[in-house]
């Protein structure tokens, strides 16, 4: 069986500097896979390449068996990959509802879109309460909810979340992680990039540890949690 997403020897460069130096990993249908690692490890670069915002200099990306490396971002969204970018990137002066509707930009099924908007409000009630409010007036955590809700609006087969817990209070972070867990329960395939390794590995079926553009470790999520090297480097234990 082919995996939903297969990345093979992916290399991405900013000018002359190679940021991702030949990484390979797989995401199976229904799995949560996480990429962890410190600053500058190449996690965000990898996600941005997968969603077509960056183009690789080498290697292959296959989604459901089809090559997507070098494809334009809007085509990749059409194929069923949604990207909730790092730093949330919501549309601050548009209302919450408009933000969600933009997530469904490529869809033409009006009634189903409305239904999905309602589902997003069920998942994140605070968004429903403020649907006519400008998104920029939301708190950081609420903006993250919106960013995730917006990504879900394209009914993706693969949801990529880039640092959903970044800059959030511990309570908010827990809430977001609970949401990711709920999405997993509902059968969404998720590729999760996190600095909060503990939380990410707890959820993940599989984890990959990135260091300066290379994968240095890979294993089941729980196994990585127990790995000494990971515990020292990313979980702050000695």
């Amino acid at each position: 069986m082919t995996a939903m997403l297969e990345v093979d020897d992916l290399r991405v460069a900013y000018g002359n500097i190679l940021a991702v130096k030949g990484i390979s990993f797989r995401v199976e249908q229904g799995q949560v896979v996480t990429l962890i690692g410190g600053n500058g490890a190449g996690k965000t670069t990898t996600l941005r390449t997968l969603s077509g915002l960056l183009h690789p200099v080498g290697g292959q990306i296959r989604f459901k068996g089809r090559r997507i490396d070098g494809m334009a971002a809007h085509k990749i969204v059409e194929l069923g990959i949604a990207h909730s970018p790092e730093g949330r990137h919501i549309f601050p002066r548009m209302t919450i509802e408009e933000n969600l509707l933009l997530g469904a930009y490529l869809r033409r099924d009006g009634a189903a879109i409305e239904q999905d908007v309602r589902r997003a409000y069920e998942l994140f009630p605070v968004l429903g309460e403020r649907r006519r409010q400008a998104a920029g007036t939301l708190s950081g955590g609420e903006q993250q909810m919106l960013a995730m809700g917006r990504a879900m609006m394209s009914r993706p087969e693969l949801l990529m979340l880039d640092e959903p817990s970044m800059g959030l209070s511990p309570i908010m972070m827990q809430k977001i992680m609970e949401t990711v867990a709920a999405l997993k329960e509902s059968g969404t395939t998720i590729l999760l990039v996190e600095q909060n390794a503990q939380a990410a590995l707890n959820l993940a079926d599989r984890g990959y540890v990135l260091e300066t553009g290379r994968i240095v470790l890979e294993d089941h999520g729980q196994a990585l949690l127990g790995n000494d090297q990971v515990r020292k480097a990313y979980l702050g234990e000695d």
Binding site: A73, H74, H89, F91, L102, A151
Partner: protein, 566 residues
């Protein structure tokens, strides 16, 4: 509370009440004497515009003072009558203050101008000094009036009454506009503008203007239709006199182009500094297919075909120019479009048979473009409609109204659609827009080409209306004026672009000083606009949010705080 502690307070309150009454009386007196002073002679020399040497007969700027003062007196009287609950629920302090400032400005300017133009203040008659003192008393006393609260007129009248209100307001607007055009002397025109400004500001303070715009918004279709009817009535106010009609035909072309540019700048957020090139492409298509003797193409299709060809050609040119330029953003895009705009002009200059193939006659342009014949109407003839003989420019004016209606339709359909939302998303955050699946490049190109097409259609009419075109009419400066019209009027709104065009084209007609220092004044105006009202005269709500983010978040913060305190 005990009475003892209250006594000083009560005294203060009573004093305050007394001084309010005093201020009101003083204001009333000031306004009355201002009004009375307009019946005096202000000047010894009759050469000053409006002839202010006659007793008992207000003329020129005196009329403006008379009207403003009369309105102020009426408001002050209403405030002490039972009517005040209906008309001035928020008080009249601010409203009267604005009117008084207008009166003072006009009086002071007139007295000074008499001194300057007739050679010394000795030419100011005692009536002028009386008027100045009266206006000063009026203005100072009005400052002492208690401040008013922001008034809300939330009256909901029967529909037919509200339709009537819309009709009356638009009719008054037309009358005010025609009146403005009819004033030949710049001094009186300036006073007229000040008076008009004061009256409008007063209407806002009173709550009247907000109510009228709410009424207009309630009956949008009626308002838009009525606005077009009123605009179509304009030629009838000019009779067979072609002068202002000619100017308004140019304003119409300019306004159509500005609305098209507003799709590019205001909706898609692409600063295009070479936009006038598209008007030029349209105009050259129109000229070449007009059957003019100087045209290098012999074919003269019906105008409807010419418009379509003009639209298609400019759309193609828009795509050709847009494809390379839209790969850069922001400042870079502005500079690159500026460059392409100049390339158009230089190319047209060189297609003269000696440095290139003979297509455009080079710098000589194409003269002698015949008037349009469209739907059997010869645009070069004057026609009699409703028993009135209209100047032949009225033909072009009516045609432009149709085109403007079309452009407005395109604009609003675009603005309120999935496409409009996608453009807004691109403006807000291009990366996120891409991640949401928006093909940003294609949508930007679409905005660019669509804007170009509308300008091209305007161009085909322009060629016939001005009957002679040269490459120099399409230089960078004109692009800059178009952008200025959009910014001045308001990015992202149709009314804004139109208002900006009217202001930018009419003021130089009225003031020689403007004519001679166009660039200086426009530059200064834009700098001042950016400082004090960056969203333009007529603001798009969203654009306003973009420019006043801090103030809005501050207000939201204050509201949240107040809510928390409760």
């Amino acid at each position: 509370m005990s009475g003892g502690a209250n006594t000083p307070l009560r005294r203060l309150v009573e004093k305050g009440r007394a001084s309010t009454a005093t201020a009101r009386t003083a204001t009333l007196l000031g306004a009355a004497s201002s009004l009375a002073s307009t019946f005096l002679a202000w000047s010894y020399g009759s050469a000053f515009p409006g002839d202010l040497t006659i007793y008992g007969y207000p003329g020129g700027a005196q009329v403006h003072v008379l009207v403003l003062a009369a309105v102020a007196i009426a408001l002050l009287l209403i405030e002490v009558s039972p009517l005040r609950r209906v008309v001035t629920p928020g008080g009249v302090g601010g409203t009267v203050r604005v009117l008084a400032s207008g009166v003072f400005l006009i009086t002071a300017f007139t007295v000074l101008a008499i001194g300057v133009e007739l050679g010394g203040l000795i030419n100011v008659e005692w009536g002028g000094w009386v008027a100045l003192v009266a206006a000063a008393v009026f203005a100072v006393a009005a400052r002492l009036l208690p401040a008013d609260r922001p008034a809300v007129w939330s009256y909901r009248l029967p529909d037919w009454v509200e339709f009537l209100v819309i009709a009356v307001v638009l009719g008054l607007a037309l009358a005010a506009f025609v009146q403005a055009l009819a004033i030949p002397e710049w001094e009186i025109f300036l006073c007229y503008l000040v008076a008009l400004g004061a009256a409008l500001a007063a209407a806002w303070r009173l709550g009247l203007a907000a109510w009228i715009s709410a009424v207009g918004a309630r009956h949008r279709g009626v308002t838009v239709t009525a606005a077009f009817v009123v605009a179509a009535a304009f030629p009838f106010t000019q009779g067979s006199d072609n002068h202002w009609l000619n100017v308004m035909v140019n304003v119409g072309i300019f306004a159509t182009t500005a609305i098209g540019l507003n799709i590019v700048v205001g909706l898609a957020g692409l600063l295009d500094l070479g936009y006038v090139a598209f008007l030029g492409v349209g105009a050259y298509v129109g000229a070449l297919l007009s059957g003019a003797a100087a045209s290098s193409i012999g074919w003269n299709p019906p105008f409807a075909v010419t418009v379509v060809i003009g639209a298609v050609v400019t759309a193609i040119v828009g795509v050709i120019i847009g494809t390379p330029t839209l790969r850069v953003r922001g400042d870079y895009l502005a500079i690159v479009t500026l460059g392409f705009g100049e390339i158009f002009r230089i190319t047209v200059n060189n297609l003269d048979g000696s440095t290139g193939p003979q297509v455009t006659n080079g710098p000589n342009g194409i003269p002698g473009i015949p008037d349009l014949v469209f739907l059997g109407v010869d645009f070069g003839q004057s026609h009699t409609i409703f028993g009135m003989n209209l100047g032949y420019f009225a033909n072009y004016f009516f045609l432009e109204l149709v085109l403007i209606a079309f452009v407005i339709l395109v604009f609003s359909r675009m603005n309120n659609s999935r496409l409009g939302r996608a453009w807004l998303a691109i403006r807000e955050d291009e990366v996120a827009a891409q991640a949401a699946g928006i093909n940003t490049f294609r949508l930007k190109l679409l905005a660019f080409a669509l804007g170009a097409t509308l300008a091209g259609m305007a161009g085909t009419i322009q060629a016939h209306a001005i009957s002679s075109i040269t490459p120099d009419s399409y230089q960078f400066l004109n692009s800059a004026f178009l952008v200025a019209a959009v910014v001045l009027g308001g990015m992202g709104t149709v009314t804004g672009a139109m208002l900006g065009s009217v202001v930018l084209l009419l003021l130089p007609e009225k003031f020689r000083f403007f004519q001679d220092n166009k660039l200086l004044i426009f530059g200064l105006t834009l700098v001042l606009m950016m400082r004090f009202r960056p969203e333009g005269m007529i603001a798009n709500k969203r654009r306003q949010a973009e420019f006043h983010e801090e103030e809005i978040s501050e207000r939201l913060g204050r509201e949240a705080q107040a809510e928390g305190a409760r």
